[in-house]
């Protein structure tokens, strides 16, 4: 009888696990869907400010953390001026690690050292702030569409060095703004 009760409890547990099956299937079938929102707002003449929360996108490699295949590297910002569903081009990045020849795996992992293409409105290299924002220079009257990707860089666990491969961990939905 005890065996029977155990089996029935197992069955009820399984039912609990199986519920919401369609959402699990979605995660398997559509792994790279947009997963967070960003904002684009006018920021003065010929400038648009792109902002988003970094709460869930700051999985930085700790000082002695060398066991994973990839670690958070930074944010890549993309833009086009035709439609949210057309291809986008990279216009700026903010990366955590200094990727110089003298770089070692425990250097610069706590602050954004690589900035290209865009300027940040706040002099803030600390990745502990809750949101990030960037200023894009634009042409007056043109409507721009933006997306942001949370980028990880592959790590060679055998030699404890960065690899030259990137990985898109999460991508944003789009935000649009007409250039003031």
């Amino acid at each position: 009888m005890q065996q029977t009760i155990k089996k029935i409890l197992l069955i009820l547990g399984l039912l609990g696990i199986f519920s919401g099956c369609s959402h699990m299937i979605d995660a398997i079938w559509n792994p790279n869907t947009a997963s967070f929102n960003i904002d684009a707002l006018p920021a003065g003449a010929n400038q648009i400010e792109i902002t988003f929360s970094q709460d869930d996108h700051s999985n930085v490699r700790n000082f002695d953390e060398i066991t994973k295949d990839s670690y958070f590297y930074g944010y890549y910002i993309y833009r086009n001026s035709s439609s949210p569903y057309d291809d986008y081009d990279l216009i700026g990045i903010e990366g955590l690690s200094a990727l110089t020849a003298s770089d070692s795996y425990d250097t610069y992992h706590q602050s954004f050292q690589e900035k290209h293409g865009l300027s940040a409105p706040v002099a803030d290299s600390d990745n502990n702030s809750s949101s990030r924002s960037y200023i894009d220079t634009c042409s007056t009257g043109v409507k721009y569409y933006y997306r942001v990707v949370v980028v990880y860089r592959k790590w060679n666990t055998h030699d404890d060095v960065w690899r030259n491969d990137l990985e898109d961990k999460e991508a944003s939905s789009w935000a649009a703004e007409t250039c003031p």
Binding site: T4, K7, I8, I11, L14, L15, F18, S19, G20, C21, S22, H23, M24, I25, D26, I28, W29, N30, N32, T33, A34, S35, F36, N37, Y73, Y76, Y78, S83, P84, Y85, D86, D87, Y88, D89, L90, I91, G92, I93, G95, L99, E114, H116, G117, R147, V149, R153, W162, N164, D165, L166, D168, A171, S172, S173, W174
Partner: protein
């Protein structure tokens, strides 16, 4: 809310949807989807039902053994199944112009069976739990191109998917009572949810619009192995939305002692099906249909299989369908490169040791005809649709686990169009994976 929904429907209207009558298709029809998900679940249950252990298989004669192997991979206690279908390049008018989207539907199920829990004397009682999910929707793949701004991997590119228009999440939870020697009773609940993801293309954010959420009851039974009844019941409208009942003719003959060797005979079903696909959420089609059908499935060792379904109208056809006596017919054959060698002398072929029961494969070819006046709304000139399917299937069975893999490409193939009329005149790709223990 109603206005919002109408606007949404018009946005969904694809380019070919310039017909006089507008048909939103089957993707957003909860009744049709419910019929499909329960049908697929029952297909999986039949695999579990027909599955024998390796030991039980080896006790059978060679030709009899293949009868069971051909009816599914090894899934004695647990069956896990994933089936995905996609149509690429599906033209849709969006708020930003015409785009080619990907239309997809993915089915997944898990069944766990526990036999002989209680000995009741005249029967042994067992139980099974099952869950199935069906995910329908459309998305746009967007390329994010890297360049020299990136100090690392500048020539790479990323991709992101935006969901567009109705996204469907259907779930089925089933509890099965098994009475050994008498049959089984499935009772379940079907949860249908349709969500409009909003402008951000993400499901689960504040701008989502819950278009409809409903629950339906599912009931299926098999009495003495030969009588099947499958029913979907809507408690809101207090009516059965679909009913399928069929008789397994050979099983019935077996019950009376007419069938001694099962493998000689095909599986033969005669049945009646009713569906009223008027979904209250969409309120656009009144698609009440009554049909009679015959299904036949014959296998010969693992050299060849033949499958067919003939379905005739009993009532409910539209005016333009009245000239046709049948609703659907299809035939499908599965063969392998050495089929002829097996056919000529199976005992000798399997005696050489070059063939193992552990692995079998089929190349699949099927042809079909379907009569459906709704195809006219999707660009067809008359209700008749001819189609085909081409694929490959592989089964593995071992001592304690089994698996199957199947890939197909379909064009207007009746079993696909029957439940997804918007697939008319598009290539539909499908992939299935099964693991059993």
């Amino acid at each position: 809310m109603q206005k919002k929904f109408l606007v949404f429907l018009f946005l969904l209207l694809p380019v070919w949807g310039m017909a006089l009558t507008y048909d939103p298709g089957d993707l957003i029809n909860a009744v049709k989807r419910s019929q499909v998900i329960t049908g697929l679940f029952m297909e999986r249950w039949m695999v579990v039902e027909n599955s024998l252990s390796r030991k039980e298989l080896l006790e059978q004669e060679l030709d009899e053994r293949f009868y069971y192997i051909n009816r599914g991979g090894y899934a004695r206690n647990v069956d896990i199944y994933l089936h995905g279908e996609t149509i690429t390049g599906y033209p849709v008018n969006t708020a930003f112009g015409l785009y080619e989207l990907n239309l997809f539907r993915v089915f997944g199920s898990t069944i766990a069976r526990f036999e002989n829990i209680l000995d009741l004397g005249i029967t042994k009682w067992g139980i099974a739990v099952g869950a199935a999910g069906y995910r329908y929707g459309m998305y746009k793949n967007i390329v994010l191109q890297n360049n020299s701004i990136s100090p690392v991997d500048p020539n790479s590119e990323f991709e992101v998917k935006d969901y567009l228009y109705t996204q469907v999440f259907d779930d089925l939870l089933v509890l099965t009572n098994i009475f050994e020697g008498f049959g089984y009773v499935h009772t379940g609940i079907l949860l249908n949810q349709q969500v409009e993801p909003g402008i951000d293309g993400i499901v689960g954010t504040a701008d989502d619009v819950d278009l409809s959420s409903s629950a339906r009851l599912f009931f299926d039974t098999n009495i003495f192995g030969f009588f099947f009844l499958n029913m979907g019941y809507n408690s809101d409208s207090d009516s059965a939305e679909f009913v399928t009942t069929k008789i397994d003719v050979i099983e019935l003959m077996q019950l009376f002692g007419y069938v001694k060797r099962r493998h000689i005979w095909p599986d033969l079903y005669l049945g009646y099906a009713y569906v009223n696909a008027e979904d209250k959420a969409t309120s656009t089609i009144n698609d009440s249909l009554h049909t009679l059908f015959m299904e036949l499935h014959y296998t010969y060792y693992n050299a060849l299989y033949f499958k067919t379904r003939i379905e005739t109208f009993l009532g409910g056809q539209t005016q333009s369908e009245e000239g046709y006596s049948y609703k659907q017919l299809y035939g499908e054959v599965g063969f392998r490169l050495d089929t002829m060698a097996i056919l000529q002398n199976p005992q000798s072929y399997y005696g050489t040791g070059k063939e193992s029961l552990a692995l079998s494969y089929y190349i699949i070819f099927g042809m079909s005809r379907l009569i459906d006046a709704r195809s006219i709304s999707f660009g067809n000139s008359d209700p008749m649709i001819a189609g085909f399917s081409l694929g490959f299937k592989m089964n593995i069975a071992s001592e304690s686990f089994g698996g199957a893999l199947e890939a197909r490409v379909n064009r207007n193939y009746a079993p696909k169009l029957y439940s997804l009329i918007e697939a008319y005149d598009h290539w539909l790709f499908e992939l299935s994976l099964q693991i059993g223990f």
